[in-house]
């Protein structure tokens, strides 16, 4: 098992290096550099050139890359030219918002998909299954941003049940119970929108997994042992079909990253996704590249997590 994990982590290293190179190239392609935002346009060009030399902007690219990586390790992602503050600090403010939103979404995804998938798979071809499958069809076909817009319009504006923007009501004192509830209240609609759409693939997967497992020979063995149908479900089918779902966990995270960009922008939720869009529109490129790098690393870690979970739960990989 540990061998598998170590191997998997070793595969990850070139991925991260490649990602950083790609991001670095993107950063270099972007118009302007660290100085363009900082310096007063009135300063004479010679001083700028001097500054450039000092900052190493005229060095060959590999030295620049090495310096960039060194800075990364020290947590220095550069300066945001729009907010005039270190990118690290800027992202830090938004990070928590996105993490909490994603967590709530994940909880909702599993809270929806597991019961629906189980019902749909166990009672396949009944009317209940058809309703659930119908939902997954529609959910599969609906783009997240349209669904989120409709949710906002209906529950936010028309019914007025939920706030239509922000992460917390101004004036609520942080640290109180009320504050926490208020945060959740603001997150609920975006999280629900995202969960209801992204969960359908898990529902479908779980349903198919259960139907497949039902037809396996070892289910016959269990029946021949004298196990009752409910025991067969609880002891054999459930266990065997839920394990791959557990392994999906990491990939769910990956899927959420794209989702947050849409949802945060639609619900004006101050998270990293919204920050990313803003930074692109405002040409605040050091922020955009840093966010891309962060999301990229999160995706890589998500994939790693999934593979490790899979190796943990499946003895065929665990024991080798």
């Amino acid at each position: 098992m540990w061998k598998f994990t170590v191997r998997r982590i070793l595969i990850m290293i070139p991925q991260i290096i490649l990602l950083s190179v790609l991001i670095f190239i993107m950063a270099k392609m972007m118009p302007g550099d660290a100085l363009s935002g900082l310096i007063d346009p009135n300063i004479d060009p010679e001083t700028i050139a001097e500054q450039r030399e000092k900052l190493g902007l005229n060095d060959p690219w590999h030295i620049q890359y090495a310096n960039w990586v060194k800075d990364l390790f020290q947590g220095d992602l550069g300066m945001s030219f729009r907010y005039k503050m270190p990118v690290t600090e800027l992202i830090g403010q938004r990070l928590a918002n996105t993490v909490w939103l994603s967590l709530l979404t994940l909880v909702l995804i599993y809270a929806i998909s597991i019961p629906l998938g189980l019902i749909s798979g166990r009672y396949n071809d009944t009317w209940l299954d058809r309703v659930i499958t119908g939902y997954t069809y529609i959910g599969f076909a609906t783009p997240l941003f349209i669904f989120a817009l409709v949710m906002l319009w209906f529950f936010g504006f028309t019914l007025g049940w939920f706030p239509t923007g922000g992460s917390v009501q101004p004036g609520v004192e942080s640290g109180t119970f009320e504050y926490v509830m208020n945060r959740i209240y603001h997150m609920l609609l975006p999280a629900l929108s995202m969960a209801l759409i992204t969960t359908v693939s898990t529902v479908q997967y779980l349903r198919n997994e259960i139907i497949d497992t039902k037809q396996k020979d070892f289910i016959l063995t269990a029946r021949a042992k004298g196990a009752s149908e409910s025991r067969i479900y609880n002891r054999h089918i459930l266990r065997n079909s839920l394990l791959p779902i557990a392994a999906f966990f990491g990939y769910e995270i990956t899927g959420l990253i794209g989702g947050t960009v849409f949802v945060e922008s639609i619900f004006s939720y101050p998270g990293m996704g919204q920050l990313f869009l803003e930074s692109i529109v405002q040409r605040d490129y050091s922020v955009a590249t840093s966010l891309t790098l962060l999301f990229g690393i999160a995706t890589i870690l998500g994939a790693l997590l999934s593979d490790i979970i899979l190796s943990l739960v499946d003895p065929r990989i665990r024991i080798k």
Binding site: D217, F218, L220, T221, A224, K225, E229, R231
Partner: protein
């Protein structure tokens, strides 16, 4: 003759295809006694596995007609609860492919232990473990303590089949149904598994129904043999009679098609064609008639029944009296 353990009368198992029912098992009657091996032989599609599944009540969507009397009790339309009390306790089943028959995500000990737990919930965990290890030893698995904690994929095919057998005999069933238990195994492993099954039968005084396509296995194991063709038993007799004096054309063809050990390079006498598939079975008349067109129609019965031609030897349809291979001279 000892008292019959299992008595099947006119069993008919039908499956729904489109809007019609087709009988995979049709008019099958047989008995199995204690400490006896009844072999059911036939080729793909003859209905032998469907028969085994019917006896174990493992078909969920089939229509079952007739009687399955197990120790005097009719199981043909028993409820799921009744079945789960009998299955695994009084009847055990051994499957063809030991790899797929075991849950890949469960350790061996738990899989066998489950069979014990289901029919005796009062045994403590420790006792159950001891019993499982005992069983593993009984089916000839070396290092049972270690195997207890292993997963199926860590064992070889022969060992896996021993585990499947251990599961089947966990509660000392009186009837064992083995569905092609050695087909997936190498020949040296096959002989070991067959020896093990014979041993267990003697020990437990159990009846065994052995489903197989391999006449060699039949000759080694069986006390009595039923030959199935197209859902029906065409011939049933004790093993010596059947191999020495086969009567039904199909039985004769089957026995002749085994490359035997006597003479190399001799021609095999065999009737061309295959077992027709379920939807294309003739519903009336002799089901084998289409494959022996050189035998006159009048030789067949209109509604073929099993005839007892000598004590304990039954043959279906009168065509056997007139049958000869096409290569043979007509007497």
């Amino acid at each position: 003759m000892s008292q019959a353990l299992l008595k099947i009368k006119n069993l008919k198992t039908s499956f729904r295809i489109k809007d019609d029912y087709y009988a995979a098992v049709d008019d099958v009657s047989l008995t199995v006694n204690k400490n006896e091996v009844l072999a059911i032989v036939g080729e793909s599609g003859c209905g032998k596995s469907a028969l085994a599944f019917s006896i174990m009540g493992l078909h969920n969507r089939a229509k079952i007609e007739g009687n399955i009397l197990f120790k005097g009790k009719d199981l043909a339309n028993a409820s799921p609860t009744e079945w789960s009390k009998i299955r695994g306790k009084e009847m055990g089943m051994i499957f063809q492919d030991p790899l797929t028959a075991l849950n890949p995500l469960m350790i061996i000990g738990d899989q066998i232990g489950e069979a014990i737990y289901l029919h005796n919930k009062n045994i403590s965990k420790e006792q159950r473990k001891l019993k499982v290890i005992d069983l593993l030893e009984k089916v000839g698995i070396p290092h049972p303590e270690r195997v207890y904690d292993q997963f199926p994929h860590e064992l070889s095919g022969g060992m896996r089949q021993r585990v499947v057998i251990a599961t089947a005999i966990a509660n000392q069933p009186e009837l064992l149904i083995a569905d092609e238990p050695t087909t997936a195994l190498d020949v040296t492993i096959q002989s070991q598994i067959l020896d093990l099954m014979k041993q267990l039968k003697e020990d437990m005084d159990a009846g065994i129904i052995m489903i197989t396509h391999d006449l060699g296995v039949v000759a080694e194991m069986a006390d009595r043999v039923a030959v199935m063709y197209a859902g029906q038993i065409v011939e049933i007799a004790d093993v010596y009679t059947l191999f020495e004096n086969p009567q039904h054309p199909y039985t004769r063809s089957l026995l002749n098609s085994v490359p035997n050990n006597k003479e190399a390079s001799s021609k095999l006498h065999v009737i061309q064609g295959i077992v027709p598939s379920l939807q294309f079975l003739p519903r009336k008349g002799c089901r084998f008639s289409a494959r022996i067109p050189w035998i006159d129609v009048s030789a067949h019965e209109e509604n073929p029944q099993l005839h007892e031609i000598e004590p304990g030897h039954f043959v279906r349809c009168s065509c056997y009296k007139h049958f000869h291979f096409p290569e043979e001279e007509v007497q």
